[in-house]
Subunit: 415 residues, 2 copies
């Protein structure tokens, strides 16, 4: 039996007719090499935005079921066009909506979860030697209502299909050609990673490297779906996201993988820091503060509390800049109730992080990072660590210098 | 139980957001009066044309199944927007694709026929006091492929739904406010008919009055669905298409209906006339001629053959002007084979027709029409009659004068 491959083309990869034709040519090459190909497409360029705009003009509070009915047409159009482009190249192809592709979801419109996939129709068409083009981002409830999967939904469609079809790989095509050791706009000699583990990718995604939504990576991790992130504008290898130990049949190679200490340096400049001074050192106060904040729908990211002196302590935390105003207001209100000192906000911050599974087994990684910053005379305002990452909050003006210094210190440029 | 009413809004009635809102307000009024309302919508303005253009640029010979997948999005968008507009007006509403509406068709993509309608979901939603907005022009095969119904498909959706739902009426909204005794641009005092029979409407449609496709009228006739053709820009009564005898419980009124001799005068200036001279008067030659023509996909409309003299005859027939060139070429070829005389084409013609069920019972209608033309010194080139219509081919320059004269002779202006 021929190997099955799932290829997902994002909005920029099908932004216009020429790009659809380019993607079709790539798919045709894979088909001719003998793969059974399932293609997942996003909506053309800014179709979705235009539809959202239309809907809001007609109803400022559009019902979510109707929004899904509306927005799902974007992917339906692009999958029909992709099938037509393939047929033009004499590649037998057929397009499916999410519903026709057997993607069954729950009823949480605009952010539905895939419950199961009934792939028998897709397999039937693959066995007729056809390329199956599936509309991404959408599914159907058991009652045949159309649903959409929310942000990153098309990636999720691709990963889930790759799982149920036991595809050998799930290729995600976009205008990004892989995951880099650092943002190439900041670090000139940053290099593309050949491979990265699911956990590192999740960590990098949460620390500011937005190449793929967490949700799809988590599903891929859960079902061990090998993802290949690559560019739709060239034929170069991109970055493989996988479980390295399982991915390499050759155990030595997997071992060598682990010897790489770091996968990359990430930067996030979209956060703000809040500090509550003089919090009485009594049980339950931190809980009260963060419960109050989360009730306002505000996502708190990093939280740092120092050991208390004189039975009082300072608590600092970061929030997305867009939520700063709301966060400040609620924090001050709570502060008054529990008799803390003043609450300060600081938007002049950046978070620099290093990510790598190797740090678990390599002592001294944190020290090396702090030294790199010290050599540049960059003061560290907050520190936070996870199993496979270390983050420092610094002044924003030092952000790029810090990334470059850390990248160099860990020898990431050598590739 | 509240009465069910089906309302269909054509492309011009939902051409932009303001018109969608206008239609929604009308629907809301009906709902508040207590009707259970099913709405059928066409695609917004020129959406369909744009999609066809896109498809042809990507594949000059687009596969029909994929075209249906693509084109069906037009109506899906407008039905979602209509539901949102209704909800905005605090009218509970839900949108359905053709598939969700239970419209099952055969597999003849781009020109599918409705096989059956499983209306239980629509009824379920109506019983929840919701307006159900169904995407027109589309359905689903038993294998869940999306199909479209071809020209006039949305009207057909509306008529078929009105039938299965036993609706009291099927209202067709467009930019035309009804059927007139003659084109008001030609005859100033032409008046709108309150009522017209299915047969007369079919005859008028085939003779040039394009307010509705034959197909939908035929289905309405078969199942006795009462159609109300009316304008989406005002609240005036339009024209009822029905079986008058059944429509009027009051028999006297139905009788009075029949006393109207004519429903209207129609004009068609888009045809050309071909004449084959000196056709030998032998059995089978006419068959050979018209079989050859129809093989080229050319629709022949009126055919007139005079009694032969000297064992030869002339045969004249009309074809759509757009097919004249092809028709001329094939007719000349056949003419040479069967040894006829020359073949002439004449594009300077018009067809004036009168339509009315009353002519069955009123002798002298034809004579009255010919006299009207004679009084204007208009020469009649061909005559053709059906059960409820009489058509004359005349020189095109006399067309408007002829329509006005006939309209007046039959006293149609009095309304």
């Amino acid at each position: 039996m021929q190997k099955i491959i799932v290829q997902k083309y994002g909005g920029s990869s099908v932004a216009n007719l020429r790009r659809i034709q380019g993607a079709a040519q790539r798919i045709a090459r894979y088909r001719r090499r003998g793969y059974r190909v399932v293609v997942v497409v996003s909506a053309l360029g800014d179709t979705t935005d235009e539809l959202v705009y239309l809907a809001h003009r007609i109803n400022p509070f559009p019902r979510e079921r109707e929004m899904d009915m509306l927005l799902s047409t974007g992917e339906q159009i692009s999958c029909a066009l992709m099938a037509l482009a393939l047929i033009r190249l004499r590649i037998e192809a057929i397009s499916f909506t999410g519903a026709q592709g057997g993607i069954i979801t729950d009823t949480a419109h605009t952010r539905a979860r895939i419950v199961r996939i009934d792939a028998h129709k897709i397999l039937q068409e693959l066995n007729k030697r056809r390329v199956v083009v599936v509309a991404g981002f959408q599914g159907m409830t058991p009652e045949a209502d159309i649903t959409t999967l929310g942000r990153g939904g098309s990636d999720l469609t691709a990963v889930a299909l790759a799982k149920v079809l036991s595809a050998s790989v799930c290729e995600i095509y976009s205008d990004v050609d892989g995951v880099y050791t650092a943002d190439p706009r900041i670090v000139k000699n940053a290099h593309k990673l050949d491979i990265i583990s699911y956990d590192e990718m999740l960590e990098m995604a949460s620390l500011g490297t937005q190449v793929m939504q967490d949700r799809s990576i988590e599903v891929a991790k859960k079902f061990n779906v090998v993802i290949h992130l690559r560019s739709s504008f060239n034929d170069k290898r991109g970055t493989i996201i996988c479980d390295p130990v399982r991915y390499f049949s050759n155990k030595k190679e997997a071992k060598r993988m682990e010897e790489t200490v770091l996968s990359g340096v990430t930067l996030n400049t979209s956060e703000a820091k809040l500090t509550i001074c003089d919090v009485p050192d009594k049980p339950g106060l931190a809980a009260r503060i963060f419960k109050g904040i989360s009730r306002q729908g505000i996502n708190v990211d990093m939280i740092v509390q120092n050991t208390s002196r004189d039975r009082i302590t300072d608590i600092s935390f970061t929030v997305p800049r867009s939520m700063l105003k709301a966060a400040l207001s609620v924090t001050r209100k709570i502060g008054r109730k529990i008799h803390t000192g003043a609450v300060f906000a600081d938007t002049d911050i950046a978070r620099v992080s290093i990510v790598g599974v190797g740090m678990k087994t390599h002592p001294g990684v944190a020290a090396k990072m702090f030294e790199a910053l010290a050599r540049c005379r960059i003061n560290i305002e907050m520190i936070s660590t996870s199993d496979i990452s270390i983050s420092c909050i610094i002044k924003k003006k030092f952000a790029q210098r810090a990334v470059r210094a850390i990248h160099k210190t860990f020898g990431l440029e050598k590739g």
